[in-house]
């Protein structure tokens, strides 16, 4: 990466915009990378503690005053939830002030026909029907669609249902209740329905994580661009200089 230079194509997410001579593009700015890894930690804590809230560990014996097991599990769930939610707000803010790639996560061009053709092309690549994937500075179109549908939609769903459940503990007079629970719980039916959907949401996010990690590693190995290292250094590099 001796000849790093900022690409004129930054912000242009089509494969055609990449000049073959460019060796590296700065894609993920520091706040995005920091957010990514903090988020990964938060989701891990949330899934683990969340699972144990739903299916608690074997019962403790002894005096109740000696233990605070569920209390701590719930506490860490709530702390991680705040990290996750505030991180999401920060990430949305960065979509406005960061570089062009920072927006990609939130606004897949769902109405663009050529983009859907590229989604199809990438799908065929994953199905071993294309010899070679296209090159992309940011997410490839299929990844972009997947990130939006599973991660963005899933996360927002979890944040709203999660804070609705948190609001129940805070009480009906709390602002959390007015902001999240008061309208959301009747929308789902009752509290138990929100619990059920929040629980299903955990598995949804977990499925996302599995596919995300697999696809990132596989792409890192098999595609024509760097993946995992890009989320660490921020720079996208290419393995060949063809278009």
């Amino acid at each position: 990466m001796s000849t790093k230079k900022m690409s004129s194509a930054i912000g242009d997410l089509d494969s055609s915009g990449i000049e073959s001579t460019i060796e590296a593009v700065y894609v993920y700015e520091a706040p995005v990378r920091l957010w990514h890894w903090v988020n990964a930690g938060a989701i891990t804590v949330l899934a683990l503690t969340g699972y144990f809230i739903g299916s608690p560990l074997p019962s403790m014996s002894g005096e109740a005053s000696d233990f605070y097991v569920m209390g701590y599990i719930r506490f860490f769930h709530f702390v991680a939830a705040y990290v996750f939610a505030i991180g999401m707000i920060g990430r949305i803010y960065w979509a406005f002030v960061g570089n062009g790639h920072a927006k990609q996560l939130f606004v897949p061009p769902l109405l663009k026909k050529s983009w859907w053709r590229e989604v199809w092309h990438e799908a065929r690549w994953y199905a071993f029907l294309e010899k070679e994937p296209n090159k992309y500075v940011g997410h490839n179109p299929l990844a972009s669609l997947f990130m939006f549908l599973m991660f963005v939609v899933g996360s927002i769903f979890m944040i709203f249902t999660g804070f609705a459940l948190y609001a129940e503990g805070q009480g009906t007079d709390s602002w959390w209740y007015d902001a999240f629970a008061g309208w959301l719980i009747p929308l789902f039916g009752q509290s138990q329905d929100v619990h059920t959907w929040h629980h299903l949401g955990m598995w949804f996010i977990l499925t996302f994580v599995i596919i995300h990690i697999y696809a990132a590693i596989r792409e890192d190995v098999m595609s024509r661009q760097s993946l995992v290292s890009t989320m660490i250094s921020g720079w996208r590099t290419w393995k060949d200089d063809r278009r």
């Binding site: 608690p56 019962s59 138990q192 059920t196 598995w203 499925t207 599995i210 596919i211 596989r218």
Partner: protein, 373 residues
């Protein structure tokens, strides 16, 4: 004094008697009356300054006429109501409200009873309270519930048109309850879906707690207004907390001490019933504070989890011992964890296959490239 006599006495004295008049007539002294006012103020959590206001209200406000209609129901709400200890149901019926019509507990019957409805509508048009126990079946032209020879929905729609406000007693009138459970063959309909132009107070529960029922009435006659309601129409003073929030076993929950099975050692020790399916964390009601039968006990205290009877559609949320609802529509019933594990597992297997195929393809490409070179 029967209800008919009561109705007649109201009839003969115009304007309507105040609460105070009725109490004096029943031989209650002024001194006892003031005591009653201070007790009521305490019960409602009000300061001593309110004693005078309550006394004034009782002396000057006319008693509210109440028509208590019974639709498709099991009468458990009435059974609960008549067991109220603070205040006694007797006091509510005889001194606080003028319960003009309640076919289950009134002395009059037949046409004599039905005539009271006409009379009340005529005399207190727009000024009486309609209390509904049970709900209204609409299928088969409402034939599943016949009152005085006519479908119940004729009666409720007519009375509702003239009332000031409606109290929906119990889960039936509030949400639908068992008769509205899937597939709801009679199309049993809760009050708020039938009557949309009147203020409605929901007092859910199967049945609601006696003191909650009488408490709502006490509040309304004392302050001459509706209690503060939440977004779903339940009085906040009784339904703003979950069973779990004020459960006396909550310390065991926080400590992580659970009953694993109903007959284990932990059950004897009174640990938290969360793992055996207690719905306390998802149920808004006052059982864990007010309790039942003069504050004697409530289900969790008796060693059984809450079944969530005051929640919307509690018959349709799966087993009484599941805190999450089984998801239908997958061919088989499955809970959230089964579905999640299946999806995550299938994803894992698919990824393993895909990774193997990818590796093969990589190897082949390398091989081809090597040959090509």
């Amino acid at each position: 004094m029967s209800n008919t006599e009561l109705a007649q006495s109201v009839d003969s004295k115009s304007p309507i008697e105040s609460f105070y008049d009725v109490m004096r007539r029943q031989g209650i002294s002024r001194r006892s009356f003031i005591k009653y006012c201070s007790l009521t103020a305490t019960a409602l959590g009000l300061g001593p300054a309110f004693v005078g206001k309550i006394a004034y209200a009782m002396e000057n406000k006319p008693r509210i006429p109440v028509l208590w209609l019974h639709g498709l129901e099991c009468t458990c709400c009435s059974e609960s109501f008549i067991r109220s200890a603070h205040p006694l149901a007797k006091d509510v019926i005889l001194s606080m409200i003028s319960l003009d019509y309640d076919d289950t507990i009134m002395a009059a019957a037949g046409q004599q009873a039905e005539a009271i409805i006409d009379e009340t509508i005529e005399k207190y048009d727009g000024n009486f309270i309609l209390a509904v126990e049970g709900n209204t079946p609409l299928n088969q032209d409402g034939m599943s519930c016949i009152i005085a020879g006519k479908p119940f929905h004729h009666q409720i729609e007519r009375v509702a048109k003239h009332c000031k406000a409606i109290i929906s007693w119990g889960s039936c009138a509030s949400w639908g309850c068992v008769q509205a459970a899937r597939p709801n063959p009679t199309q049993a309909t809760p009050t708020h879906k039938l009557i949309t132009d009147k203020p409605i107070i929901k007092v859910p529960g199967c049945p609601p707690i006696a003191e909650v029922m009488t408490g709502v009435i006490t509040y309304m006659v004392t302050f001459d207004k509706m209690p503060t309601l939440d977004r779903q129409g339940r009085p906040k003073m009784f339904y703003s907390q979950r069973i779990h929030d004020k459960c006396y076993r909550r310390p065991h929950f926080d400590a992580g001490q659970f009953v694993e099975e109903f007959d284990d050692e932990n059950a004897k020790k009174g640990y938290c019933l969360y793992k055996v399916g207690c719905k306390g964390p998802t149920t808004y009601n006052a059982c864990s504070t007010i309790r039942w039968n003069e504050g004697t006990s409530f289900p969790i205290q008796a060693g059984h989890g809450c079944i969530g009877c005051s929640e919307d559609g509690f018959w349709d949320k799966g087993s009484f011992y599941d805190r999450l609802t089984d998801v239908h529509g997958f061919g088989v019933e499955a809970d959230a964890d089964e579905i999640g594990l299946a999806v995550a597992g299938a994803t894992g297997v698919a990824i393993a296959v895909h990774a193997a195929a990818s590796a093969l393809k990589s190897a082949k490409n390398n091989h081809d490239n090597n040959i090509g070179e």
